[in-house]
Symmetry: C2
């Protein structure tokens, strides 16, 4: 339950570095158009856990590199993640009023500015990446663009919406989770490794860890939507069931979903074996995510 004693200080210190770097990368609230930059900052600094940036930095360190070098990549993945949440919450999509315990972007700034704040965050992610070391920029942009594109992040959201109200089919659930969650988590890890110049084998290894971890994470998320309250989650609970979303628990039941999350987490940790003690932080994150309660 909770983070292990070695992980917490690392997470907090990396988290702080990411906050500061994001603050530097995002235009100030006084920059025109003011409403747009306020909306972008509102959503980016809404109290997210920064899981994807932390994974990015942890992969850089596990590769034997300096995690600080991967800070731009970490900020870029968080910008993409935030953009995807803003658009997912729109009235024409999941129509959510609450995110991280606060009113969603479109509730505060209106629908048009919310669409555009998401758009601008997506563009900003690539601007941030392009300013990182010239050597890694091409490969890193390719990873992020692919994961954020029509086959993965966006494709998963389309499939998610189209599956609403239908029988939750396991193959479809895996397509949705693979696209919406696992691909971006895998990309975060791969980009961290790429930033510090890791070899292709290492990039693929942390990517494999990330895909399994991402699926486990999303199943856990689906389970928490059923078992926790809106207050604990900071977002509307029970919505998956109400909207008849294609989720793991709906497809195979709560017990088998729990089992699958455990099995995938064990698989993720197993993928780290060749790293020996260098995989310690990544292992600790995987265990933490499986045990988390919100």
């Amino acid at each position: 339950m909770g983070m292990d004693s070695g992980l917490r200080p690392r997470w907090e210190s990396w988290g702080k570095q990411v906050e500061e770097a994001l603050d530097g990368f995002l235009p100030g609230e006084a920059v025109a158009p003011i409403s747009l930059h306020k909306a972008m900052r509102y959503s980016v600094f809404a109290g997210g856990k920064r899981l994807r940036p932390i994974l990015c930095l942890a992969a850089a360190e596990a590769a034997g590199g300096d995690a600080a070098v991967a800070i731009p990549a970490a900020c870029a993945v968080e910008c993409v993640h935030t953009y995807s949440l803003i658009h997912d919450d729109l009235p024409c999509m999941d129509d959510d009023d609450l995110r991280r315990g606060k009113p969603t972007c479109h509730k505060v700034f209106g629908e048009a500015v919310a669409v555009l704040a998401g758009d601008a965050l997506l563009a900003l992610a690539f601007e941030i990446l392009s300013c990182a070391g010239e050597g890694a920029a091409g490969a890193s942009v390719r990873e992020l663009a692919k994961a954020a594109g029509s086959r993965w992040l966006v494709g998963g959201q389309v499939a998610d919406m189209e599956a609403e109200g239908k029988e939750a089919d396991l193959g479809l659930v895996e397509f949705i989770h693979g696209g919406k969650t696992a691909a971006m988590i895998a990309a975060s890890l791969r980009m961290g490794a790429i930033a510090v110049g890791a070899g292709q084998d290492f990039v693929d290894l942390v990517g494999d860890f990330g895909t399994k971890l991402g699926l486990a994470f999303q199943i856990q998320d689906d389970l928490l939507d059923i078992t926790q309250s809106s207050e604990v989650l900071g977002k509307s609970a029970g919505k998956d069931e109400a909207a008849q979303k294609a989720t793991y628990p709906r497809a195979v039941g709560v017990e088998r979903a729990r089992e699958e999350a455990r099995r995938l987490t064990a698989g993720a940790i197993g993928a780290l074996r060749p790293l020996e003690e260098r995989g310690e932080v990544l292992r600790a994150i995987a265990n933490y995510l499986l045990e988390r309660e919100f």
Copy 2:
């Protein structure tokens, strides 16, 4: 009136190359999610003039390079342009039913898929760029991300919406046109030059040409909205006036707007002087845009 005899075959041949390359870069309609890929293709192949890609290729050639090398950059800018049109047309933005003589993306595929098709095209632009020559990728991504970001393309759209129904102030009109149109046109030219390894002076020169040309082009667009019919334009005419948009003609009147378009075009052509005969195609494009009737 119309294209001069030297420009037309060049435009048509480049346009054909861009169509073919876009067809290769966009996932097929049979790739899941099918609705998403259909929507992306619907909007990309809706019969656009391909002005931005043509400018990109023309800049590459004017730099003494092989225009074919700039094809990925040309396709990337067209993806960004198409994404911006899809989002601009949304009900929460300009709420347009007609674009290039066809129903807009959200009218055909629904609002959610239209938002996501735009998102996916923006990501695809960077994926295409990242696959271009490793050397130019970083600089090119930086140009495109900046031009597409919160200070320019997206910022211009926010300012455009916020200005609706208010007095059309000249400074504001220039901010909107500079962001929504001129920045992307300048970026298209700069990226074409970057793709073939042109020096910084050349990149800045075609960028300067592009900024002036882009402003002239947008003024011309505003004028055509007043003077032409929806049939000729392939989009709803007279909407600027009805929505009280901040446009050049509304700010200074039709006659002064015409003058300004001519003055800016002359300035753009003047910026090409150092190129001597290598600037011929770019000059022909500038003259054509000033004289166009749709």
